[in-house]
């Protein structure tokens, strides 16, 4: 991973490809997060409301971006702000790629703050979510 001091405005961060989303993963995430909306675990329910089957929790995808951000922060910088806007739906078997770019670098109260613009993308170009994180060090 990159040293935090090397994060400069405009830098494209290395991409991070997650393993394919699986139905078992959605069951695990439902249990761990306490979100038991059947839309994420019950195909019959999802089909009743017009989908092909279950969809991933948006928060699981935000979890992927959170993992990515902390990879960048290198367990050294502290993430003080992290937000995401949800886009296209994610289905089992989808492969999510996390991408990011350094949007700003500022000095705040003697500390450095790096603002990252984040993207969760599937099928090369379909955006399932965009986010932003501030790493302080």
């Amino acid at each position: 991973m990159i040293d935090l001091s090397q994060l400069v405005e405009g830098l494209n961060l290395p991409e991070y490809k997650k393993e394919k989303v699986t139905k078992v993963q959605l069951v695990k995430y439902a249990g761990a997060s306490g979100d038991f909306n059947p839309l994420h675990t019950d195909d019959a329910f999802a089909q009743k409301i017009g989908l092909n089957g279950v969809i991933a929790h948006g928060m699981l995808i935000m979890g992927f971006l959170g993992e990515y951000v902390n990879k960048i922060a290198n367990n050294e910088g502290q993430v003080i702000d992290f937000k995401m806007r949800f886009g296209a739906m994610t289905f089992p078997e989808d492969e999510i790629v996390c991408k990011g770019i350094v949007k700003e670098k500022n000095k705040v109260d003697g500390k450095t703050e790096v603002v990252l613009k984040l993207f969760a993308v599937k099928d090369i170009s379909e955006v399932v979510g965009t986010g932003e994180a501030v790493i302080q060090f």
């Binding site: 997060s33 979890g63 003080i80």
Partner: protein, 149 residues
């Protein structure tokens, strides 16, 4: 606006004990193998000095008691999770007890394709036992007209 009356509504305060096992299960579900969430020896050597929870963990912080559930009286089929934000003063640590309360901080309207859409901002403020701020989780819910098939 249908939901303006919800502004300022608060839920019952509740506490939440952060189990190390819960952190591990949460990280595993995401497929996040960062040892910071599971390996005490490793975590001690980082600036965090111990196991912390993944960034999105506050989403799992809910009242254990069904009676303390924050009920806004909304139709869940109409709710769509549009945005999520976490503002941290410090990370959540394994083993600590969180003091939480939920509040509707805003309701606003925007024009959409199918008429006006309403948005609800729901904050969960999470503090430590001394009332020091740890993190605020802000959920932006889109409340849309019911689609009937």
């Amino acid at each position: 606006m249908e939901l303006k009356h919800l502004i300022g509504k608060t839920g019952n305060p509740f506490t939440f004990k952060v189990e190390q096992r819960h952190i591990r299960q949460f990280a595993q579900a995401i497929g996040d193998s960062n040892p910071l969430y599971t390996d005490e020896e490793y975590a001690k050597k980082t600036p965090y000095k111990g196991i912390i929870a993944p960034l999105t963990f506050p989403i799992a912080v809910k009242p254990d008691d069904e009676n303390d559930k924050f009920d806004l009286g909304l139709d869940y089929r109409r709710m769509l999770h549009g945005e999520q934000q976490f503002k941290y003063s410090r990370p959540i640590r394994a083993g600590e007890t969180l003091y939480c309360h939920m509040k509707v901080t805003d309701v606003y309207e925007k024009d959409g394709k199918n008429g006006a859409m309403e948005f609800i901002l729901l904050d969960t403020e999470i503090n430590d036992e001394n009332g020091e701020h740890i993190v605020t989780s802000r959920t932006n819910i889109l409340y849309r007209p019911l689609v009937t098939n």
